[in-house]
Amino acid sequence: MKCIICRDNIYIRHIFSALFTTDKQMICDKCLEGLEKVEGGCVRCGKKTNDIICNDCLFWEQNKDYNLLKVINYSLYYYNEYAKTLVKKIKFNGDIAILLAFRQQIKKFLKPFPIKDKILVPVPLFKTSLQKRGFNQSEVIARIINLPILDNIYKSNDVKQSKKKRIARIVFDDQYRLKSKLNLHNKDIIIIDDIYTTGATVHKIAKLLSDCNARNICSFTLFRS
């Protein structure tokens, strides 16, 4: 078995336990060492900070459109230099193999959470980027988690309507739209993305879903910058 990232051989240290797990280790220990697991930090989003709540989260807390959402974000790794090179390979080169190789790590991370009855909402891409890359990285992560996926949101680059309003921020708010009307009464949602940066994407989609009566909304991303 060769490491998907560096192509070195993987030496399995615990052969006995490896025999009983269905998810094979696809990334070698050396490559995993370059990544740093999210621990502590902001209680809402995991950002590295000494405060209880980080500035990003305070911003959403103080914004009247979003302050009722209370989205909690869970991320697996910090977005360090090494993570950046991986994301570049996944998104810029279109190498889905690297993303799929994180199956074992993602499953292990989510195991303690009670997510059985939740619905996954992967962040959509522009259609053009999807064709160029060959896949939507958020959707791939959602498929790894293997829960029902809601595919009713699209990303639009139609800004005509917002230009009329002349409010710059509205342009962004209008980016994600519903394909059709939706009722999510009593449903819990996990928004899935590759990177959580300031939380803008997650909050915009959360707003959209909360307007459809969704109950609890949280998010999971592979990286937290």
Partner: protein, 429 residues
């Protein structure tokens, strides 16, 4: 749709082909030649090749546009001024012409500093004047950046295209292409003569993919001239079986032998440096160079050691550390070349093709496995390259002798022997 296709320039007929094809039930990447099935992967639209991902995604749902390029032909290319060749260089130059005429591949073997580049000037001009397109491929971007101004200075009326990752010349049309081997992926049956510099250097050696790029980029009948200072076994075998022509330039152009490296033992070097201490022997040697105001190349095996060493040495001397991925890399190398920095610390990645006159060289932690025989010989070749300053001091600092160090010294001595005229030595390498 054309906008999304991968583009390859060609001089044969224009067409559009699939980027990944199925041949005899196996996937085959038309772009990079990969047929290792474990290097193919499935995404939402089809199968893609992981081997050449850095050059754009090649997949079953992707197409390659082989774009025909017409090149303006000028018919009177020449040198701006006469380049003085030694007798042996002249013979070598004629040998290149002969092999080119017979459409045969050739290996030109010359020790470091023997003036290989000048030797191929004639054959480049001959090809250009026939209306041919010539490619000069080298392993590293630095060498491209160094050769292009030199070619621009020496060649008259030739339009020269420099290609490397991030080059502004991408897509430009010319007669002489100076390129990193990786960039050849964008060409299909395009070149009439290919010259490959430092064929022993890391990317070609044992790298099937790059060999495939070269084969794809040149016309089928186009000959290749390989330049090397240390011929790999593969080529000496080809020579023995008379599959390719060869020629040996025994001396360096200023007739001085390669410096024999001194070996100095230091103790737990890497550990000390990482802790912030430099072994005394190394420090004293470096400080002596400062008094002599000689420039020094310091080679280290790992980036961490380079960074730590830079921190230690800046207390005493002006030095900079450069490595491959660094942004200001070219800038720092230029400062070193222009004598603005006296010391440069580098990983082996920089080792080949960069010429600076009057330098002393040392390798720190030479027992590291990264310094194999080939690498050490190449590094020693950096020293004493200028006719005015042929003597230089080369020191290998190591914790213990390795077989590679021993072999390298042996080989350097052998090369110097060849330089004196004993050609039979080559086959015993």
């Amino acid at each position: 749709m054309v906008n999304n296709m991968l583009v390859e320039y060609t001089k044969s007929t224009e067409n559009i082909v699939k980027a990944v094809e199925i041949v005899k039930n196996k996937y085959y990447c038309v772009r990079c030649g990969n047929n290792d099935q474990s290097e193919f992967f499935i995404d939402d639209f089809g199968i893609y090749c992981r081997k050449c991902l850095n050059f754009g995604k090649s997949s079953t749902y992707q197409k390659i546009w082989r774009k025909e390029i017409k090149i303006i032909f000028n018919e009177s290319y020449c040198l701006k001024k006469v380049v003085n060749l030694s007798n042996i260089q002249k013979i070598a130059s004629n040998k290149c012409l002969e092999s080119f005429k017979n459409k045969r591949d050739m290996l030109l073997y010359a020790v470091c500093g023997a003036g290989k580049t000048e030797v191929v000037y004639e054959v480049i001009l001959r090809a250009l004047n026939l209306g041919n397109i010539v490619c000069f491929a080298t392993p590293r971007k630095d060498v491209v950046l160094e050769l292009v101004p030199r070619f621009k200075r020496d060649f008259f009326q030739v339009s020269i295209v420099a290609l490397y990752g991030g080059s502004p010349d991408k897509g430009k049309v010319g007669n002489l292409y100076v390129t990193t081997t990786h960039q050849l992926i964008n060409y299909y049956q395009f070149f009439d003569l290919v010259i490959i510099d430092e064929v022993d250097a890391f990317p070609y050696y044992n790298n099937k993919m790059l060999a495939g790029f070269i084969k794809k980029a040149k016309k089928e009948q186009a000959p290749i001239i390989y330049l090397t200072a240390t011929p790999p076994k593969y080529y000496t075998n080809l020579i023995r079986r008379k599959k390719i022509d060869h020629f040996i330039i025994p001396n360096r152009f200023h007739n001085h032998p390669l410096p024999i490296p001194k070996i100095v033992l230091t103790y737990s070097t890497a550990k000390k440096i990482l802790k912030g201490n430099c072994p005394k022997k190394i420090l004293l040697w470096l400080l002596k160079k400062q008094q002599l105001s000689k420039r020094v190349f310091i080679f280290v095996p790992k980036i961490e050691i380079g960074i730590a060493l830079e921190k230690i040495l800046t207390k005493y001397i002006k030095c900079r550390f450069v490595y491959a991925e660094m942004k200001e890399r070219t800038q720092i190398i230029n400062m070193f070349r222009n004598n603005k920095i006296q010391y440069i610390i580098t990983t082996t990645i920089l080792e080949r093709g960069v010429t600076v006159p009057n330098v002393d060289v040392c390798i720190i932690n030479c027992d590291d496995q990264i310094f194999d025989e080939r690498a050490i010989v190449q590094i020693v070749g950096r020293a004493g390259r200028h006719p005015k300053y042929p003597f230089s001091d080369v020191v290998l600092f190591c914790d213990y002798f390795t077989l590679e160090i021993k072999n390298a010294v042996k080989q350097i001595k052998k090369m110097n022997k060849i330089a004196k005229g004993n050609k039979n030595e080559m086959y015993n390498m």
